[in-house]
Amino acid sequence: MTTAPAVVPRRSGTAARVPVALLVPAIGGLIFLVLPLAGLLWRTPWATLPQRLAEPEVREALKLSLLTASLATLLCLFLGVPLAWLLARVDFPGRRLVRALITVPLVLPPVVGGIALLLALGRRGLLGSWLDSTFGVTLPFTTTGVVIAEAFVAMPFLVISVEGALRGADTRFEEAAATLGATRWTTFTHVTLPLVAPGIAAGGVLCWARALGEFGATITFAGNYPGITQTMPLAVYQTMESGDLDGAVVLSLLLLAVSVTILAALRDRWLTAP
């Protein structure tokens, strides 16, 4: 994926050489993406902002969002990194199909994801009915259910990033370790992981951001109850539903601020191509 380090001069005189045919649509694209955010800022009731943010429901939803998105990311790292390794390093039959299946949650409407989760892990679901009858465990309407819904939607981001990093990494180090007698596990933990750490971090950040914004699968699979399953996106929707547009704008702004802060803080470190 990654090529040899570019030696193109990055700064001097580039602006002058940008063709108008590219510059105009590029600026159009930027405006298209940023304008709705400007609309949010424009409509924000700044005067009542602090008191609205101090409301316990808001704090509760934000806390739950941060917690579940972080747990979902951990779950994705635990399951997703080995999966990415498998896809990148082991040639097994049906690999292309597996890769295609993994990306399905990326394109699936989140509500469909929620229904699919219900049919698999719900009380009457494929696996869920067994969980319920054997262990008395039901996942819908629990905070665990939120984590699962978020992980389902966010995991592809992690797997794709890590797989890309693994494919771009130089395999000679791994081969060297193997010829020196290291087992595949030792090679993975001592050579491969450090090598692709930036890729894993980048994937983790993307995964976390996606989990934080998850709405459709959460409300369908995990339901909506303050303090247990009501994350920020659900709180925004509920506030909007109750006709309190100002409140919805405030919550949206808060969610946006958190995501942008994290993405911006981590971007220079991990998200830019090496």
Binding site: L118, G122, R123, R124, P140, F141, I219, G223, N224, Y225, P226, T229, Y237, Q238, M240, E241, S242, G243, L245
Partner: protein, 264 residues
């Protein structure tokens, strides 16, 4: 207040005036499809509460048949979401809400062309799995340990009605989820994820294949009025008015009563 009414009256007159104009200009065309008042043409966009989905879909088809050349487009969702969309300028001709309170947010923002008319009433029932395996006979049974109950969020009319009914009965109930509209609450019962949900009788009636409805006396204290109005910024005010008239007509009443609604 008076001024508001005057304005509303004026708007209505204008709407009818426009309808008249439409009649004049189209009188030369061979569009007279046989029915009495086919002055209306074009698309009528109706924003309606989720609980009206089935009955209004039927009414829409009948309306289209009665008024050749019209198409009725529906946007079904929770009343509050619809009200917000309308107040944010969504293009709609008619708004039918599941509660007067939600209707007020639209009319007080000056977006109704005239006063809203109540056209039906609806009552809550307890929707349970087919055969009522948990033997639920009334609101008090919903607090049984281990029982999972879905309610609508307070913000939407079915949630407000549920809250009123629960308060009237003195039952303290902790639901597992607060759904965004009545259809979502009912789906959770159909899927078996919850044991019961408070939904409208009309919604339970649509799903008799999957759920049973348990009537409870406290629902009489939480009856929902459904108001309907033509919107001020309607692109097709004549069509909107004709649709409202159709809902209020005898034909409309037949469809709505068959769906389980009560006359206002």
């Amino acid at each position: 207040m008076k001024l508001k009414f005057a304005a509303a009256g004026l708007a209505t007159v204008l709407a009818f005036g426009l309808a008249g104009c439409g009649d004049d200009t189209s009188s030369g065309t061979p569009a007279a499809g046989g029915s009495s008042s086919s002055a209306v043409t074009g698309t009528v966009t109706v924003f309606a509460a989720a609980s009206l989905t089935e009955s209004f879909t039927t009414l829409g088809k009948q309306f289209e048949a009665a008024h050749q050349g019209t198409t009725v487009k529906f946007n079904f969702a929770g009343s509050s979401a619809l009200a917000t969309q309308i107040n944010q300028g969504a293009p709609a001709d008619v708004f039918a809400s599941a509660s007067p309170k939600t209707m007020t947010t639209v009319t007080e923002a000056g977006n109704g062309a005239g006063a809203a008319t109540t056209f039906v009433k609806n009552q809550l029932v307890i929707a349970v799995a087919k055969g009522n395996p948990k033997k639920i006979a009334g609101l008090a049974d919903l607090t049984k340990p281990g029982l999972k109950v879905a309610l609508c969020a307070d913000a939407v009319p079915c949630g407000a009605a549920a809250k009123t009914a629960l308060e009237a009965s003195g039952v303290k109930l902790t639901p597992v989820t607060l759904e965004q509209d009545v259809k979502a609450a009912l789906s959770k019962v159909k899927l078996g994820e919850v044991d019961a949900a408070l939904v409208y009788r009309t919604d339970a009636q649509v799903s008799t294949a999957d759920v049973d409805a348990v009537e409870f006396p406290e629902s009489a204290k939480a009856i929902n009025d459904y108001p309907i109005v033509v919107l001020k910024n309607a692109a097709n005010p004549a069509g909107g008015q004709a649709f409202v008239d159709y809902v209020l007509s005898a034909d409309g009443k037949t469809v709505l009563t068959a769906a389980g609604f009560q006359a206002p």
